[in-house]
Point group: C2
């Protein structure tokens, strides 16, 4: 069953919108109040390009929240449990953000542009409003804004060849999450080694919304010898790789989760003494241990229609939920991600998922499914 | 040109989703991270039902931000420039919300459920995060949450007959924005005289997500004698009526506007002495007058493809923007809404809109287009 998406003025168009339309985009979703491509008509080929070749994605909807000013460093440290001491200019960090109760409200990548200027490359929630409220309520000297910045991702094992063809061999030496400001011709952008897949790649942070088509076409031309084609963040690959999707796996309004539950424990140093929002709640959670843990699971059945989280049951008890399910092409099995009561171990038996067509057995497994 | 909407786990389904699918919904948009119907295949008939008969809309995406606790009243007053003194239980108020700089970040309807419990029925931004940050940073005793509440709107001149058939004649005496908690059979809900149209009507705030289809079908059955049919918030009618759409007309991230610019001046009493966020900025704006004003305009040309705000020009100067344009069926003309430099009066000549196909003259006019 398919439906049209309403195109209207209340959802923003990406700078790459026209180029993706010209190149055959067939579906969109909405992310950070912006259209984001879903697929281009051949999901299998798009998956293959991502895992075996190279794909290009319009991920402009991954908006930036810029924090700038003498207190910018203080503000970004307040926003995340991760200890940012020692973060260098040109370095990116994955920085979960919590509310005061320790629930996750986003999981952006932080880019440190200078000692007093940072970008949070955000998942789908208005962190702009959150950061603004914290900055003003604490009287910090930091401006919070959304700059004219729109990422285009190049993902897949051959992405490095495309990026090298575009920018030169220095991109091969860029560390993971490292980035550098540069130009392509005279298009201003930042090249970062990052992206929402585990296939490797780069994100080009376009800094001029009027040059979207030009950048898209440059990447397309440079990627042609490597078989590049358009695609989009891929749910099957993200499940196989165990990547987190804020909004799908958790959302503070109706499906909250903590960083410890989501497995971010190793990123969080509660003993470093730095202050951040949610610290008291996380200290308390650490003292008694998280209530749930993140699990992968194999489903013995068909892929249900996409939608709401599905209950994970043991007998008459609801012991967790499954956030997303897909058929793994590489494993030939139906896989899913969920949150399970922490006292239930991987060896547990009798777990079932409550599907629209009836209950179906599941088998727990470690993450990621594919390394 | 039409595109599919990707149906996936990162966008929530409304409790009325299944019923709208069964009843032929053809397009969706996304609002507050939830699918919201766009149309059901016959936009002209849907418009006619709204302005001449009665329509039913799934507006569950108009989520509620609940504020509850001893400081709930203090918190909601902090959030809005509108003076809430004298607001009674059972009364709704339209409450613009500003950031500390006086930019609008939402324009919800506030429902006062009791002295210590309120709902903000929000437009498309994460006011949940904003209210949470303000509450915690100020140490207020108020819980901020998203309750299980999903509005279904009944709109149009015959809406009162449908509501009376469902609930009894008392609904005829409900004041505009007044509401009452009740049940339909044993379905818990709130009946409010409200809705995002100027055709009159009600919103039923369903308080049990498992009973969406049941409520939908009850309204459908009660409305059948009056020719009810499914529809959705209607862009043409909202333009004719001069209704504001946060996200389309303004958005703090990339298209900010102030309450004075949007014409909310009469709602704001800066001399009452109550404290609220943005007060200093609004006092300053009042002292020198708003920089822009909201205008209606007639466009001498065709309706352009929907999308970005369009520049409003006078000669080589950009003097404002147009947020949305549509052909008014009742006026037989192309109309639009925009923000224009405040020093340019209604009698100004030589204004043009910058359309993809070239410039096109516009003529200013008062709002609303149709009363």
């Amino acid at each position: 069953m398919t439906f049209e998406i309403a195109i209207g003025p209340n959802i923003r168009k990406s700078p790459f919108f026209d180029a993706t339309v010209r190149d055959g985009v067939r579906s969109f979703s909405v992310y950070n109040h912006m259209y984001i491509p879903g697929h281009f008509g051949d999901p299998d080929a798009e998956y293959d390009r991502l895992v075996n070749g190279v794909a290009m994605w319009d991920v402009a909807a991954q908006r930036q929240v810029e924090v700038q000013g003498p207190d910018a460093g203080r503000l970004v440290q307040l926003l995340t449990p991760r200890n940012l001491t020692g973060t260098r200019v040109g370095q990116g960090r994955y920085v979960p953000i919590c509310d005061h109760t320790g629930w996750l409200i986003n999981d952006p990548v932080l880019l440190k542009l200078s000692e007093d200027r940072y970008w949070l490359s955000v998942a789908d929630s208005d962190i702009h409003l959150w950061a603004l409220a914290i900055a003003r309520e604490r009287g910090l000297h930091a401006i919070v804004s959304e700059p004219d910045v729109s990422p285009l991702a190049i993902q897949g094992p051959k992405a490095v060849e495309v990026a090298a063809a575009l920018f030169g061999d220095w991109v091969r030496d860029l560390a993971y999450f490292g980035f550098r400001e540069t130009t392509l011709g005279d298009i201003p952008l930042i090249v970062a080694r990052s992206g929402w897949s585990k296939q490797g790649g780069y994100e080009l942070y376009l800094m001029d919304r009027d040059r979207g088509t030009e950048l898209w076409d440059s990447v397309k031309a440079a990627g042609a010898p490597f078989g590049i084609g358009p695609g989009a963040p891929n749910d099957t690959e993200r499940l196989e790789s165990g990547l987190i999707s804020y909004g799908a796996d958790m959302r503070v309004q109706d499906c909250p989760a903590t960083p410890f539950e989501m497995g971010f424990g190793p990123l969080i140093d509660l003993d470093a003494g730095h202050d951040f929002i949610g610290r008291a709640a996380l200290l308390q959670e650490r003292s008694h241990g998280p209530a749930r843990r993140r699990v992968g699971l194999f489903v013995e059945g068909d892929v249900p229609p996409p939608g709401h989280p599905l209950d994970l049951c043991r007998g008459s008890e609801c012991v967790g939920f499954v956030s997303e399910i897909a058929r793994s092409r590489r494993l030939g099995r139906v896989i899913g991600l969920g949150l399970l009561r922490a006292d239930i171990g991987d060896e547990a038996s009798g777990l079932e998922i409550d599907l629209p067509g009836g209950r179906c057995p599941v088998q727990l497994t470690g993450l990621p499914f594919i390394r």
